[in-house]
Amino acid sequence: MKRVQKEAEEASQLVTRRGVILGGMQLGFMGILGLRMRQMQVEEAESYRLLAEENRVNVRLIAPSRGIIYDRHGVAIAQNAQNYRVIIVREDAGDVDETIAKVLRLIPIDENDLERSLKEMNRRSPFVPVTLADQLRWEDIAEIAVNAPVLPGITPDVGLSREYPLGADFAHIVGYVGPVSDYDLSKIEDPDPLLQIPKFQIGKIGVETKLEADLRGRAGTRRIEVNAGGRVMRELGRVDQTPGRDMQLTIDHGLQNYAQARLADESAGSVVIDVETGELLAMASAPSFDPNLFVRGISSKDYNGLRENTYKPLFNKTVQGLYPPGSTFKMMTGLAALRAGVMGPGETVYCPGHMSLGGRRFHCWKRGGHGWMDLDDAITQSCDVYFYEAAQRVGVDRLAELCREFGLGERFDLPLSAVREGIVPSTKWKAQVRGERWNPGETLNTAIGQGDVLASPLQLAVMTARIATGKVVMPRLVKSINGVEVPSEEAASLNVSSNLMSMIRRSMYNVSNGRRGTARRSRIVTEGFEMAGKTGTSQVRNITTAERARGVTRNDQLPWNRRDHGLFVAFAPFDKPKYAIATIVEHGGGGSSAAAPPSRDILLYALYGDVPPLEAYPSDQRERIRTQHEEMVLRRRLTPGKKASRA
């Protein structure tokens, strides 16, 4: 006990000693702080005071003007418009409510906008300028400017705002910009100081976001003198901003507009591609929406309207939409079997209306059967049984290999949001993805583009372009950057004999021109512009044995979302292919009735470079086409605007 007591005494003394030393050191450091304070505030005070006097120079960032996006002819799709706005600084405004009431007496401000501005004002520091109203008319701004003396803290201002003059036509391709959100910031490491500017616009989807780095440009700085009240007196100097780079797309705005208008009433997507260069001339996804709504900040009512629409206007059907290709896939099956030599070029297969495999019956769409069919007959009349036989002989893996060579299952590197790769099923795919063995019956489903096969309209268009040229055509969307052409590589040839390719092309010609062709009604009669195509109808439901016995329910008796998808792929002119197209009409019924007619019309527009003349259509349809054209709301083809639209 004594020892413990003694040790405690010792410990206590040690702590005391160290505590005093520590206290002394702390006091010493405080002395340094005090001396430093004295040095700065007493001895050097005069020089700092001068600096503070001079310190009326403020530096502000100048936002760069965003690169303009043009179509292939130089017509602006996305540009920067002067945006007149009214800005409020809470600190200077005095009684904010009263000041705003005064402003409201001069100019109208939307109630939602006002509420949003007030919220932002409360969130930010009192000296941060907040936009009270934007997109104002010049007269309104003048009104504010004249009354400036009685409106403390209110300043009229002009900025640049993104504008999409072609509205809904390019919503899915170009996308839109919007103010930087906290979510955006959290995704970027070491962010550009520009992003700290309130409401700075950055790309949110589509080309606008994928090419953000090129489009944004670099900030400039402006040194300004402010008076004691903080008001800007004069500009002392500036480092100019570097504007973003201009993008020219391969899209033709007229064709795009026509395609959107032609598909307007459907839930549909259509892609037009130049078969030689791979340039995408149109990528229509209907219905569409006005991207300008998003730039200003869309109201929740409008947004919910778009979201809840069963036709899914926010969804880009051309690259994001995946569909069973149906009979448009049959060229693949035919080519695979003939290339492998398991089916002779003139060999015939008997179609009794179905094929039995493993105790299951696989039906042909024609109940009574087609009789003896060779490849040409089978493509022209879209006989299922011929392709069941062909696929069984060649096997799914060799079929999948050919599909990949034609661009199916490939994610093309385009500056678009949500480009998907689709599915080309094979035994390996099934083992990897599902962990199951391949079932022979699936080969038959795959043969006719059903089952697990999924492709986007973009992929089908690329496939058709490759059939038309026999070359590995790669799609491209950006034609030039800042006036410098984006180089493209010479396409390699496909590993399919040219005899075989011309056989397939001939059969596709017969689909839309032959006496028994499934798309005969959608032919082009202009000499030299003839079209070669293939219809497809893909089921979105299972047909039960009971239903088949009863008679398959007709599409127009089904609810919309249970009807078949209509597909059509085509290229034209047949002799010297120029353009290829792939169209999907969601739940539109058959390919020949729903997808072939608009595809033909869009291809004709591409060939003529304008609304096609009636002579291009079969004589019995001209009357109907005339009314159709009259009812369509089209934009006039524009000529390239002045580049001076950038302020």
Binding site: M1, V4, Q5, E7, A8, E10, A11, S12, L14, V15, T16, R18, G19, V20, L22, G23, Q26, L27, F29, M30, L33, G34, R36, M37, R38, M40, Q41, V42, E44, A45, S47, Y48, R49, L51, A52, N55, R56, N58, V59, E91, P126, F127, S186, D190, T221, V226, A228, G230
Partner: protein
């Protein structure tokens, strides 16, 4: 070494404890906080409700928490040291997993009524656990290598977690706080000399790593050091804060520009003027007299704590008191050095003055421990 060896009977009990509260310390804390209210009122442009009022409410709550903690006996708090430390660690890990991201760092857990920064709590828990450790450790072992490694590990675990957030300022404070408690407990001088030499070597290595692919700290942290060493290299970027802060401070002169008359603050040349840079507004508006008075108030707090610790025969009590005082010291010393251009900008608030919820509450709670140690100190007959 245990408390119970002393004459417990001489410790005040019941309501009589109120008489033994270190009231001078309470007054000093209130005085410093009042300076804070005044400055928060000023930087809000004469708006009471923006920052000053919530700060006052938190101060009132904090004082109550302090007194409540002070009433509980110090041996109770010693028994709480290890649980508090473990709880702090759990919270730090939780903030890593579920915390909200703000200002580029993941620092707090949202408790709806306030945002809890576990790193604040950890500063105090660490002081407590180290004090309890040395209270338990016998004298001759204090400087033995193994028994020195234990507290070092106890310090480095939370430091590593805080660095990961990343919060360099708090990490530095944790290491310094832990080191100070070890120093007070009597760890041999040689260890501190060795660590100082090691730190010098480490700084050298960090700079040598710059630009190589094994770079040890982030680019923006390097830039902060660069601008600290020479603010003129980037007068409009990161150096801007330091330059403007120095101008504001220096231009205050002997008596300052007057309450709410600081042009630097008014014209928004100052960054974060209600949090980390609040001292510049004080120094600009009240000059050397104002700035030095605040420094003197802090000095008096440290002085009273040291006196209380020196009089206290209980090792845990005096170590906690010194540790808490050191924490306060580190806060204001780093903050003031930063705004005066003596240290790089690391994001440490001015204690009790800067606007901020958990920092003030935690600090006042820590002074509750000081009060408890003061009230329940063993007295000779």
């Amino acid at each position: 070494m245990s408390y119970l060896e002393y004459k417990v009977q001489t410790v005040p009990t019941g309501l009589r404890k109120i008489l033994y509260v270190n009231w001078a310390l309470v007054l000093l804390l209130a005085a410093v906080s009042s300076v804070g209210f005044l400055m928060l009122f000023s930087v809000a442009g004469g708006d009471l409700s923006r920052w000053a009022e919530p700060q006052m409410k938190r101060f009132a709550l904090g004082i109550c928490v302090m007194l409540a903690i002070g009433m509980a006996p110090i041996w109770f708090w010693r028994s709480m040291a290890v649980p508090a430390y473990l709880f702090g660690l759990v919270l730090l890990i939780a903030v890593e997993l579920f915390g909200e991201v703000g200002m580029g760092a993941q620092r707090w857990i949202d408790l709806k009524f306030m945002r809890l920064q576990p790193s604040e709590l950890m500063k105090i828990s660490l002081v407590m656990v180290l004090a309890a450790y040395y209270d338990w450790l016998s004298m001759e072992r204090v400087s033995r290598p193994f028994w020195v490694i234990v507290p070092v590990v106890l310090t480095l675990i939370p430091t590593a977690l805080v660095l990961k957030q990343p919060d360099l300022g708090t990490a530095i404070l944790l290491v310094a706080g832990g080191g100070i408690v070890m120093f007070c407990a009597g760890v041999s001088w040689w260890y501190f000399i060795a660590v100082a030499a090691g730190a010098g070597a480490l700084v050298y290595t960090v700079f040598a790593s710059r630009g190589t692919d094994w770079q040890l700290i982030k680019d923006y942290q390097f830039r902060r050091i660069d601008t600290f060493l020479d603010p003129s290299t980037d007068p409009l970027g990161a150096g801007y804060h330091i330059t403007q802060s120095k101008i504001a401070l220096g231009s205050g002169g002997w008596t300052g520009k007057g309450f709410m008359q600081g042009t630097q603050s008014r014209l928004n040349f100052l960054p974060e003027k209600h949090t980390d840079f609040i001292f510049t507004t004080l120094a600009e508006e009240f000059g050397f007299i104002g700035g030095f008075s605040l420094l003197a108030l802090y000095g008096l707090i440290i002085f009273f704590c040291v006196v209380s610790a020196v009089q206290n025969k209980d090792r845990f009590g005096s170590l906690v008191t010194l540790g808490v005082a050191a924490t306060l010291f580190l806060f204001f010393a780093v903050n003031m050095s930063m705004v005066m251009g003596l240290a790089p900008v690391v994001g440490v608030p001015l204690p009790l003055v800067s606007y901020g919820g958990s920092a003030m509450l935690v600090l006042l709670a820590a002074f509750g421990l000081v009060q408890s140690a003061h009230i329940h100190r063993p007295r000779s007959r």
